[in-house]
């Protein structure tokens, strides 16, 4: 039984038991001496659905697998196992021309605005290139569409930015260019991989605003990946919390933030700093740090740090179970 979040109609994106294992690099000597290959189980069997028009966030700390998930969804890397359905179509093993056609419907915005644009191409060329690649527009017409897009993301006057090079722009501006490039093909679905974490604090709200505005205007669906839970709370409709390659809790935003059930979610939320000295809240202090994803702990991966861990937690991995409308938890201690 797949966890299905209740919403309207068929989900735009459906992920079933998605896995990605990376073989650990071994030296020549190691390869000679032993046949055993270790794997980094970056994503180890996750399932979720995103409805059309919503913002689905995947939140977690570094190493939890959220970034890998993003890349898997847009098929920049191939899954080791599981399935991905987009608009009902199985895109898991798509390749070649079919995959390229998918790119028109599904785009990604990367975390690092300083590295995601071609430094030798003008801004206008960077943004317009997708149009050329897919044979949608060339020359004058391409220019017109790019100018419109630049205006939409607030880079005005568009003509000045069209002819500029990436290094002439600030981080915030470059990220807006990345947004423009992702949107120019009018996709249905956008994966945003930590889109504001490398931008100056004073410029972040601008990008968030832009993304929200464009979502309405262009009827988009987002998979928003972040480590910043305050941002996740601000922007999402639904949220999934990941830990060591697994989803530990998932549900509608209000529910997760007001009534978290998983001890990790609890600890995570209580650790988020708040810009308000008057707030007094119960803070859960977790011991230790995230274990290595190469050899995750047995049973429930969180048991080594969990204040509620019992015997069964050490032996058996908990399944992601529905405990309420739009609320799923993977924990033995939750009824």
């Amino acid at each position: 039984m797949l966890p299905v979040l209740k919403g309207e109609g068929m989900p735009l994106l459906k992920v079933v038991d998605l896995k990605k294992y990376f073989p650990v690099q071994r030296s020549f000597l190691e390869r000679l001496l032993s046949r055993r290959i270790d794997y980094v189980k970056a994503v180890d069997g996750i399932s979720f659905e995103a409805e059309k028009g919503e913002v689905f966030s995947i939140a977690g700390e570094s190493g939890c697998g959220k970034t890998t998930t993003g890349r898997l969804i847009v098929r920049l890397i191939d899954p080791t196992g599981g399935k991905i359905f987009f608009n009902g179509i199985d895109i898991t093993s798509l390749s070649g021309e079919e995959l390229r056609k998918l790119r028109k419907r599904m785009q990604i915005i990367f975390q690092n605005p300083y590295a995601s644009l071609n430094p030798r191409m003008k801004i206008g060329e960077n943004v317009g290139h997708p149009l050329e690649i897919h044979g949608i527009a060339y020359g004058r017409e391409k220019e017109k569409l790019v100018m419109e897009m630049l205006e939409k993301v607030g880079l005005q006057p568009a003509s000045k930015f069209y002819n500029a090079y990436p290094h002439e722009l600030s981080g915030g501006q470059r990220q807006r260019v990345a947004v423009a490039r992702a949107m120019i093909l009018n996709p249905d679905f956008i994966v945003a991989d930590e889109p504001i974490s490398m931008i100056d604090v004073s410029l972040r709200a601008r990008i968030l605003e832009l993304m929200i505005q464009l979502k309405e205007e262009l009827d988009l669906t987002y998979l928003f990946i972040t480590h910043d839970l305050a941002v996740a709370k601000y922007i999402s409709d639904k949220i999934a919390i990941m830990y060591l390659g697994k989803i530990v809790e998932m549900g509608e935003k209000e529910v997760i933030f007001s009534d978290p059930k998983h001890p990790y979610t609890n600890a995570l939320l209580s650790a988020v700093p708040v810009p308000d000295p008057n707030v007094k809240r119960k803070r859960v202090m977790l011991k230790g740090e995230v274990p290595s994803p190469i050899n995750p702990p047995s049973g429930c991966r969180f048991h080594t740090r969990c204040p509620l861990a019992t015997d069964i937690c050490r032996r058996e991995e908990p399944k992601l179970v529905k405990i309420d409308d739009n609320h799923f938890v993977a924990c033995h201690t939750v009824k």
Binding site: Q107, N112, S116, E168
Partner: protein, 292 residues
């Protein structure tokens, strides 16, 4: 901040040369001046040279430098100045031609091999590395002996010597660039292999080429001179500094310094010109290369 597409690169460089640049700017200016002087000499050789460089007995044998023959004459009575001037044509033609061919070949192969990877890349790299392992001069000598005399055979041997340098450099840049985020982003928008190589990777590896070009040219001048010195490569009727150096070298014992010294000086000067230019360029472009 300068953007580095080729024409703008030159102008931005020239503007950066003034006040603050100091040593690197000087290198570039001096180097360029030397190179341009020789190019001028080469182009206008027919007009500049007072005599036919191959005509014997235009003056006495081993005449020391005098107003009629500012650089004196050699053992066959040929005007050394005219031979120097015409010699610059030889050197520059061979150098520029071999540079053009080796860079075109090396860069293209490096791009494709680095991008495609796999067995093709492994095999080609192995081949290039073995060529590279040869000391340049030995390789050039071996090829010159095999290919025989003439401008084209010499050009080809020099070309072969330098191809691995471009190949290795471009290939390693391609390998690192393949993993960069903007290339991944290009894949995400649907770009195919050829587009990725020529629109994304190639423009970003170009900046390192001019430096290597210049430094290789310096090396080529010396290698060509060495080949001619050994009597390989160029036939006798083509005026050539290395050959003249060889002929002049023998006369030194008799205290006849001019037939050897002038060609030697020209070789050193031209090599210096290319080196200074290349080093100065490296200094100026490198901060840009690492900064972005």
């Amino acid at each position: 901040m300068a953007n580095l597409t080729a024409p703008k690169m030159i102008t931005s460089m020239l503007s950066k040369i003034s006040p603050r640049r100091g040593v690197e700017g000087l290198f570039i200016i001096v180097g360029l001046a030397i190179i341009l002087t020789f190019i001028f000499m080469a182009i206008f050789a027919p007009v500049l040279a007072p005599y036919d460089p191959n005509k014997t007995r235009v003056g006495g044998l081993y005449e020391s430098p005098n107003p009629k023959f500012p650089m004196g004459t050699d053992r066959l009575g040929r005007d050394i100045l005219s031979r120097i001037i015409w010699g610059s044509r030889t050197v520059l033609i061979v150098t520029f031609l071999s540079m053009a061919l080796s860079s075109a070949c090396g860069v293209t192969l490096g791009l494709i091999s680095g991008y495609v990877g796999g067995k093709f890349d492994t095999a080609l790299s192995l081949f290039m590395d073995s060529l590279y392992a040869f000391p340049g001069l030995i390789l050039a000598i071996a090829l010159a002996v095999m290919l025989g005399q003439g401008i084209m055979p010499v050009t080809v041997s020099l070309t072969v010597v330098y191809v691995p340098i471009y190949f290795r450099m471009i290939r390693s840049e391609v390998l690192s660039m393949k993993e960069s985020l903007f290339v991944e982003a290009a894949k995400a928008i649907g770009a195919k292999g050829r587009t990725l190589i020529f629109k994304y990777i190639f423009p970003n590896v170009i900046p390192s080429i001019p430096i290597v070009l210049s430094l290789n040219a310096a090396d080529a001048v010396l290698t060509l001179a060495a080949l001619s010195f050994l009597g390989l490569g160029l036939p006798a009727h083509i005026p050539d500094w290395g050959f003249d150096l060889r002929m002049g070298y023998g006369a030194l014992t008799a205290k006849i310094w001019w037939p050897g010294t002038f060609p030697g000086l020209m070789i050193v000067l031209l090599t210096l010109g290319f080196s200074l230019f290349g080093e100065g360029l490296a200094e100026i472009l490198n901060p840009k290369l690492s900064g972005g």
